[in-house]
């Protein structure tokens, strides 16, 4: 047993802990000043701002879509249900670069709707709307997949009781269903937020990577690294890593609230 434990801990240490720890060390090795300076330049501030804007657009939209879709899939019967159910998982299975390419081919200048958008003076690709679409694409399944098992677990008895007692469908949803699934929704929101904050490939393809204009925080990490500015790359990484750690703590908190082992995201999609 001890050998197994040691193997597991060494593996995790070498693969996760040591590299992430080193980034923190490298960032502050020449003092907090340099690191602080490089994450507060106008370009850096704009990058973090843009990342937050994308999260604020993508996560709420996916949450509404996610809850509605989970309700449809768990509470209704309709034709094409199993097809819808499997299509939801597609974004998990697709390379982020392919996501970016796909969006360009529809919404780009030479894409399917390119002429129409050009005529109306709307720019999607190489600007914020395209980046928002990419972000929505990659974190689309999380809320659906977290809410579905919870809906199945709580069953329909309480909802039916509420309806029998004269509650309207809307009342039933707000008073009965939503409170019952709130931890599932919360968990999905946290996972979506983490994914949206960290998305790189899809956004890299559709953004055109214009520093100070369409550069998100993750794109800035790469740009700084390639500009031979390790402190810039490391310090931006540390800010992103801290956001990641915050997400992790949140996940842990929600998990305890739910008192249920998770891993639904990893296996639910397949069921």
């Amino acid at each position: 047993m001890r050998a197994l434990r040691l193997t597991a801990l060494l593996y995790l240490g070498a693969l996760l802990v040591a590299p992430v720890g080193l980034i923190f060390y490298r960032t502050f090795e020449r003092g907090v000043g340099a690191a602080w300076h490089s994450v507060t330049t106008p370009e850096a501030q704009h990058a973090f701002w843009l990342t937050l804007v994308l999260v604020v657009i993508a996560v709420p939209l996916n949450t509404v879509f996610g809850v509605a879709t989970a309700l449809l899939l768990e509470r209704r019967e309709f034709r094409g249900k199993s097809l819808l159910n499997s299509v939801i998982d597609l974004p998990f299975a697709i390379s982020p670069v392919v996501v970016g390419l796909a969006l360009i081919l529809v919404y780009g200048r030479t894409g399917w709707f390119g002429d129409w958008f050009a005529e109306h003076g709307i720019r999607i690709i190489f600007s914020a709307p395209g980046m928002a679409l990419a972000t929505i694409f990659v974190c689309l399944p999380f809320v659906v997949r977290e809410v579905q098992p919870v809906l199945r677990e709580v069953g329909t008895e309480q909802e039916e009781a509420a309806r029998t007692l004269g509650a309207s469908p809307a009342q039933t949803f707000w008073r009965i269903t939503l409170p019952a699934i709130r931890w599932g929704v919360g968990y999905g929101v946290v996972l979506s937020t983490a994914r949206a904050l960290g998305e790189f490939g899809a956004v890299a393809v559709v953004s055109g990577r214009i520093s100070g204009v369409t550069e998100t925080a993750t794109l800035r990490v790469q740009e700084r690294f390639e500009a031979f500015d390790p402190v810039g790359a490391y310090s931006a990484s540390v800010v992103l890593a801290l956001m990641g750690v915050a997400v992790l703590l949140f996940m842990n908190l929600l998990e305890r609230r739910r008192k249920r082992p998770r891993a639904q995201t990893t296996t639910e999609g397949l069921a």
Binding site: R5, L16, F200
Partner: protein
Amino acid sequence: MTSASLRARPAIAVRVPLAGGIAVLYLSVIVLLPLAAVSAKAFEGGFDAFWEQVTQPQAVAALKLTLGISLVVTLINVVMGTLIAWVLVRDEFPGKSFVNMLIDLPFALPTIVAGLTLLALYGSRSPVGIDVAYTRVGVAMALLFVTLPFVVRAVQPTLQEADREMEEAAASLGAGPWTTFRKVVLPNLRPAIVAGGSLAFARALGEFGSVVLISGNLPYKTEVASVFIFGQIENDNVQGAAAVSVVLLLASVILLAGAGRFARR
């Protein structure tokens, strides 16, 4: 009449035509139309044009490398992931809940940051003297980092629910720990391992952010499919990019469908 239509008015306020229509529209605008566009682009000049793009040497090399490395990474994940899950469920040691939380770190950390951290420790300025930058080993490490949670999180709940009496019976009948694990525990874990492993494999096939810095993108040597696609887009060979994308798409869709079928059994 089906049992569904016999049921009383469903209690929840989802009108299938309206909510379903919106859900399908949302999915179409964001996911389905773009994916259709990729396939259309890949086959724009007919199957021959597609084939020509997929079989050009650099594309073949990238696809082969991606497939090979993803397989290796998945195998390592299956072994290490099962081992870690086992330790987290069956072992007791101080700091276990912290280690358990750590497993989700790759999901919480941006992939580009994951790649950068590995490069800092195992790159040319490595403080421990290991330099895997711009090598296939480096690419594999990046993929191992981002795919770590899949097998662990799939196996953990199954292991928690596993009936330990069977193991005790096997042990009392004289089976050693390894035989007990192989003959009693492993068969029960197999669906979870396959499910987690396929997700890890699918993820590895398409991974980009964590690989882009550490691989150095050397064609024929460390260039994986996603990086190849990215390069083709930048070089304005959109059809080449779309053709290789379709191959990746097919691979992951088949994989997920197959794993889903297996997991349901």
